[in-house]
């Protein structure tokens, strides 16, 4: 069994993510601090909440920091806000991000309905461990007001077309980020979760 932890910022539905992981045979703990005696094979940063409070909940209540917990050994899946936190900063807040990816998070153009909410298709541009078996143009569910703007576009492995191209999946070493919600994206999303768990089990 793969042991993974979901970090709970205390801001909404993580039950669906937990259920989706358990359906793919993972052992799931919900943690609110990195001070854990148990060793985990993977970490998930869920996609509900606001940037500043979420960053503070990660930074302020653990003796062990995020970087020491992960140590570049544990795969991390950041979903939506979780992915946005990988970057250096976000227009949603004032706090510094986790800074594992270079770049910033910016507001979507205001000529579209915000929050951007609904199903869009993925344009897969690169091979990625978490996109194994996923077909180009697969449908996934987005709900967000901000988008990533990485300094290095090579980390973008899939995008979505909103009129402008929005990074949908980013991958750098053991950090995986999805702007959409795999746990809300039907069978396609479930396959991505399975792929992530396979990375964790290695």
């Amino acid at each position: 069994m793969v042991d993974v932890a979901i970090f709970d910022y205390g801001a909404g539905n993580i039950f669906s993510l937990k259920t989706a992981l358990e359906k793919n045979d993972a052992n799931v703990d919900i943690i609110t601090s990195f001070d854990q005696s148990k060793k985990y094979d993977g970490l998930l940063l869920p996609g509900v909440g606001n940037f500043d409070p979420a960053i503070r909940s990660i930074r302020d209540y653990s003796a062990l920091g995020f970087h020491d917990f992960v140590k570049e050994k544990i795969p991390v899946l950041g979903i939506c806000l979780g992915m946005e936190m990988f970057f250096q900063q976000s227009q949603e807040g004032k706090e510094k991000g986790l800074d594992v990816m270079n770049g910033e998070v910016i507001l979507l153009p205001n000529d579209m309905k915000i929050p951007h909410m609904g199903w869009n298709s993925l344009e897969i541009t690169k091979d990625s461990k978490i996109l194994e078996g996923i077909e180009n143009d697969s449908w996934v569910y987005f709900v967000h007001s901000y988008r990533a703007k990485p300094d290095n576009e090579d980390i973008i492995v899939a995008s979505a077309d909103y009129g402008i191209k929005v990074p949908a999946v980013v991958e750098d070493k053991l950090f995986f980020g999805t702007q959409f919600h795999p746990e809300k994206s039907g069978k396609v999303g479930s396959l991505m979760i399975k792929n992530f768990l396979r990375v964790c089990s290695k």
Binding site: A11, N13, F15, V48, Y141, S145
Partner: protein, 267 residues
């Protein structure tokens, strides 16, 4: 591909069963909520809305466990509403597996709760449900429309469509957007249960009044009604209940028909 239009089956639940009424009244049984939710999710529904139409305080624990059971069997977004008045109540619902909370009477009675919810859970969790009915008593300061030679304005109704508030639906929509709502679930009481089609006039007005997504609801009797509302308004989603409940049309089939009419849907 642009963002697709969302097709949302709605489960109106009373005493643990899915029910369907006409103009918010005369209710009839339509099945088990967990079974229907799973069926719709597997058939390609884009989201689900679950409304507890009894919404009494004694039922809160029952609803919590029902929400959890539904969240366990579906893998699409899920909105829960009905009698939500407090932050604590909303939190209970979200922590049991709902992605969004719909708030209606509670928002009219205490508009600050919209802002509080938004600050705690984010805009995307906060759906304000608005029940609208034409009022033919013309009042100063309202947005006046006319149809078949009669003048009227759209009034916000609460308590399951039973009580008028004197609020103009267009003004109220703008207000809740300012307060932090992330989406509007717009139900036309005039059309609800009639199967005469969505309220195109009302829907158009609200879509243009706000910058947040709008879900059209009330009056859908056949797939063509969905095609009609997507062709004639820029609404983001269409909600329906009875056309799905009684096996008249599967979600798949409805989406196929919509797509044949060149409206982008996930299929």
């Amino acid at each position: 591909m642009v963002l697709t239009k969302r097709i949302i089956p709605c489960l109106d639940v009373a005493n643990g069963r899915v029910v369907k009424g006409l103009n918010f009244e005369s209710i009839k049984d339509a099945g088990d909520p967990v079974q229907l939710a799973e069926k719709y999710s597997n058939e390609g529904a884009d989201e689900l809305v679950f409304l507890d139409i009894t919404a009494s305080s004694e039922q809160r624990e029952t609803i919590k466990s029902l929400v959890k059971k539904i969240a366990e069997v579906i893998d699409i977004p899920f909105t829960v509403g009905g009698g939500v008045k407090s932050l604590q109540h909303a939190r209970d619902i979200l922590l049991n597996g709902a992605d969004k909370v719909a708030i209606n009477t509670g928002a009219v009675k205490n508009p600050e709760v919209i802002t509080e919810l938004m600050e705690l859970f984010g805009k995307q969790c906060v759906v304000v449900a608005i029940d609208s009915r034409r009022n033919y008593n013309i009042e100063k300061g309202k947005n006046i429309f006319s149809e078949n030679g009669k003048q009227f304005w759209f009034e916000v109704f609460i308590y399951g469509g039973k009580k008028g508030t004197g609020l103009d639906v267009i003004d109220w929509s703008k207000k809740i957007e300012e307060l932090g709502a992330g989406e509007i679930l717009l139900t036309s009481i005039d059309r609800d249960g009639t199967k005469d089609g969505y309220d195109i006039l009302l829907t158009n007005e609200i879509v243009h009044a706000v910058g947040i997504p709008v879900i059209a609801s009330g009056g859908c009797g056949k797939p063509e009604d969905m095609i009609d509302v997507f062709k004639n308004t820029e609404v983001n989603a269409a909600l329906a209940a009875s056309i799905f409940h009684y096996e008249t049309h599967s979600v798949n089939r409805v989406k196929e028909l919509i797509q044949e009419n060149n409206i982008p849907v996930r299929y």
